[in-house]
């Protein structure tokens, strides 16, 4: 554990050194996010001009849900997303070789190598927005529920990571899986809104094969008291199951690794 903390601290330091060279990119990234966020809020606000409730969720609740979704996405981007999307290239170009010969867990090294500091501005923005939403709409969450919300968001990120790893492990067979990543990303955007709007069969998928419900719907639902505590057990169980599955699937896929000729 101490070894991996040490490695991670070096990776974090390296990310700072590297991103210091790309300040303009970091600032542009933050500005585009603000613009996108503004447009999204206008869209949802327009919807609520015609109704007070969407699938059992009020305007402040939907805004809160949306914000938690974006925050969860940005935390995922900060720690893991670039690394996960790089896996197919690492496999097809044979760069995986250098990961396989080092005495450190290959999955750990793969999913932590790059830390996207450019997401920092977005995370700070989202955190401020969350505070403003709670204050502006008088949304009350008890301290206990606040902890549960935070805990479930972390589990949701681990589920995203495990799911992303499973999908990108497919590149041991299919080599290029950009389309799957893109489809997953687009479908994942559905989680911005209450999943209760989806038909029941499709909703089941969001708890299982395409587990986007864990990103924000369950954490916010439990946090706001709209879903019962049984969902905490479900999330813990699913996190353990999917993480185990991702590790096993990766090891299985690794047997097919052919590297690349030099």
């Amino acid at each position: 554990m101490k070894k991996y903390l040490k490695i991670y601290s070096i990776l974090l330091k390296n990310a700072f050194s590297r991103d210091a060279h790309y300040r303009a990119d970091t600032i542009t990234h933050w500005i585009t996010h603000i613009i996108w966020l503004g447009m999204l809020y206008i869209l949802v606000d327009v919807l609520f001009r015609y109704t007070n409730v969407i699938a059992g969720w009020t305007r402040p609740e939907v805004f809160f849900l949306m914000n938690i979704f974006i925050l969860s996405q940005q935390i995922f981007l900060f720690f893991f997303r670039d690394n996960i999307y790089q896996i197919p290239n690492i496999i097809t170009d044979g760069k995986l070789d250098s990961y396989l010969v080092t005495p450190a867990n290959t999955i750990f090294m793969l999913v932590t190598k790059q830390i996207s500091l450019r997401a920092t501005g977005r995370i700070i923005t989202q955190t401020f927005l969350l505070g403003w939403l709670l204050f502006h709409y008088n949304l009350t969450i008890s301290i206990g529920n606040g902890f549960i919300l935070f805990f479930l968001i972390i589990l949701g990120i681990i589920i995203q990571l495990a799911h992303g790893l499973i999908m990108n492990t497919l590149s041991f067979w299919w080599l290029r899986i950009d389309n799957i990543n893109e489809a997953w990303f687009n479908f994942g955007q559905t989680a911005k809104y209450p999943l209760t709007v989806l038909p029941k069969t499709l909703r089941v998928l969001t708890y299982t094969i395409i587990p986007i419900a864990y990103q924000n719907f369950i954490p916010v639902g439990v946090g706001l008291g709209k879903l019962d505590f049984g969902f905490i057990g479900l999330t813990i169980t699913y996190t353990i199951f999917l993480s185990f599955l991702a590790g096993q699937f990766w090891n299985f896929g690794l047997r097919r690794y052919t590297s690349a000729s030099s």
Partner: protein
């Protein structure tokens, strides 16, 4: 003591037939023909501690695949390999801490950061104690003369400097075995020579076992007493480089320059004529007759200069590959 032991090691790759053209691409969406290629076929060998062994072979011969199986990157299809008593494919940390792999065509250092940052990361990954790290780094940077470039971004370094930094990163944890895949590829003559000199010295002083693949015969001739020749995945020779030359070369090259014009017909009796101009001839003469022929030419002809050369090793290896292909 043997540190590497390989018995009937084989690797078969499977791939799909890819035909050209749009129609064939559409057809391949529905049906693809699976094909197999045997990259390594039943290779067996033993390598002792401290040996410096050169793996030779043309492109696609199976050298790198063998190296990758020995370092645990690839699973063998069949056969056994043990390295330092470990089965490489199990990728145990205790094993990985005892070897290093350097690939000339793949950059393992962080591209956007100074090499020193990669060294520090390796220190954490290999759990190198502070004192050992400090001493080893000082020794390697001195030997490779890279003290002044440690704080320069890797992408701004020359290829030769990068390779020196790659070697430093690989040797920081003092491995017992070093796998080198084309370490001098793309380097200029001076850099190639520096790397060779370093490897020779490091092998001699540290008794590290080095397995080297290279297309450059100069690398192998300068470094390796033992060569393993692989062609079409098969091991076709395993032994000393000198013995290989003795076995496959029965002649020497005699190169003579004259002060006056000569007739080509006068040289046929000495051996086969490789090159001829009126004042210059290159002859392939039987090894045991080379001195006698040289003496005769010197005494009977107006010689300006005469050289007795060994046959070019590249030519010998090429001849061996081509003979094996015909089989």
């Amino acid at each position: 003591m043997n540190v590497i032991s390989v018995k009937n090691l084989s690797k078969t790759y499977e791939y799909y037939k890819k035909q050209s053209g749009l129609w064939n691409s559409v057809k391949s969406l529905f049906h693809r023909e699976k094909l197999f290629t045997e990259a390594v076929k039943n290779i067996s060998l033993e390598i002792a501690e401290g040996e410096l062994v050169g793996f030779l072979g043309p492109n696609g011969a199976g050298k790198t695949t063998t190296l990758k199986m020995l370092s645990g990157i690839l699973y063998p299809t069949s056969g056994e390999a043990t390295v330092l008593g470990y089965i490489p494919a199990k990728r145990q940390s205790a094993f990985q801490k005892q070897f290093a792999l350097v690939m000339g065509q793949k950059n393992q250092l962080w591209w956007d950061l100074p090499a020193m940052e990669s060294f520090l990361l390796n220190k954490a990954i290999y759990e190198i104690p502070d004192e050992q790290f400090k001493n080893t780094l000082a020794e390697l940077t001195e030997l490779l003369d890279i003290k002044d470039i440690l704080d320069i971004q890797v992408r701004k370094l020359s290829l030769g400097q990068r390779m020196k930094c790659e070697l430093t990163a690989a040797l920081l944890h003092s491995p017992k075995i070093l796998f080198l895949d084309e370490p001098t590829i793309g380097l200029d003559v001076v850099s190639q020579n520096n790397i060779r000199e370093f490897l020779k010295r490091y092998n001699r002083e540290k008794k590290i076992t080095i397995i080297l693949t290279s297309h450059y015969m100069d690398d192998v001739a300068a470094l390796c007493e033992r060569v393993v020749i692989i062609n079409f995945g098969e091991l076709i020779y395993d032994g000393g480089l000198r013995a290989l030359l003795d076995e496959h070369v029965d002649h020497k090259i005699l190169e003579v320059t004259f002060t006056e014009d000569q007739d080509q017909n006068g040289f046929a009796k000495y051996g086969s004529i490789k090159e001829f101009t009126a004042r210059h001839v290159v002859l392939a003469v039987k090894k045991d007759e080379a001195k006698k022929v040289a003496a005769e030419i010197l005494t009977t002809m107006p010689v300006d200069d005469i050289l007795i050369n060994e046959v070019n090793i590249d030519d010998v290896i090429r001849h061996i590959f081509s003979a094996h292909r015909k089989k």
